[in-house]
Symmetry: C3
Subunit: 139 residues, 3 copies
């Protein structure tokens, strides 16, 4: 079994989902691995990773609305607001989702379901530079 | 180190937990690996994976009730309801739990704690056919 | 590629975060792996794992307050309270966070972001003995 690691930088436009699927697909294809695992890690605590429905844009809007209700920006229970009303909510949203994901490779591809995409979820309102580490294992 | 991959299909009876522990145990035993990792991936965005208490059925009822309060079926904030009032809640429940899990193997077994079971959590009310990919690594 | 596994025991003082970063760093350094993955698994369903902001203590207090609102101790919707009002909330908090995490190794170190720490989140009010399994893979 072999392993390789890649650094990726994503510039997000602010709160919302950025699709990572095609970038990950490119790395997997380039590795030449037929069977294996693709591990993705985000090196931040105010953005996270998510596997979600990839077809209907209303899903992303609904996710945002639901999370905004669970963890409202500017909630008076938060002390930590040095970077603004979306600072602490970004940390809680990260805790409620994932900082790392692992996806199987089969037949040389990410073995996602038909309706699955891999997303970076930016939780801050402003644009950010986000660093990811992708580790591929396989044969 | 070796790797092997298996496809599993689970037919769920509708919303609720299906215990995967014995099926995973069977694959681990069959692999012959003594030390390693068992990765489980669900190829859907309206069902997810969960490690939970395996002894008292009231835990599962309580989990359902709490998640139903956090993410109510038919919530008017949801636009995406093409497949019914449990459509978007299923995606949010998936986001709040896991699409993949990794469990260590030790001494040829899943190294779960005494009270841990591995579950598929079906979030839709109707029965569904769910595909999982299990990747075992070990020696 | 090589693999090694370690058992860790953490004695928690009760609800709150215990930083695992230096203990994991010690294991990674000792392994001598330059590139790889560090998998951490908690063998319990009333404590969980979390990657969070490591600098400002108010983040941890805010996390506690928000989770206490989402999943209140002694909530009347819970049947399962054999071990007290924090019994079922501990299981739900575990479901909402992680039982396992994987962190990349790069240049012989945990490749965490500047502001990331790895934490055990004890969800019970009393002190507990918690068992973790750490699996390192790398070269």
């Amino acid at each position: 079994m072999h392993m390789q690691q890649h650094a990726i930088v994503i510039h997000t436009p602010g709160r919302g989902l950025t699709d990572l699927t095609s970038e990950l697909t490119r790395l997997v294809t380039h590795s030449g691995y037929r069977i294996g695992l693709c591990h993705v890690f985000i090196r931040h605590t105010s953005a996270s990773l998510l596997i979600q429905e990839n077809a209907d844009p209303s899903v992303q809007r609904d996710l945002e609305r639901l999370f905004a209700r669970l963890v409202p920006d500017g909630d008076p229970i938060f002390e930590h607001d040095m970077e603004g009303p979306d600072d602490m909510p970004a940390h809680v949203r990260s805790a409620l989702t994932q900082s790392d994901l692992t996806i199987p490779l089969d037949d040389g591809r990410l073995h996602l379901g038909t309706w699955q995409g891999v997303y970076l979820w930016e939780h801050r309102h402003g644009p950010h530079r986000r660093e990811l580490t992708v580790t591929l294992q396989g044969t």
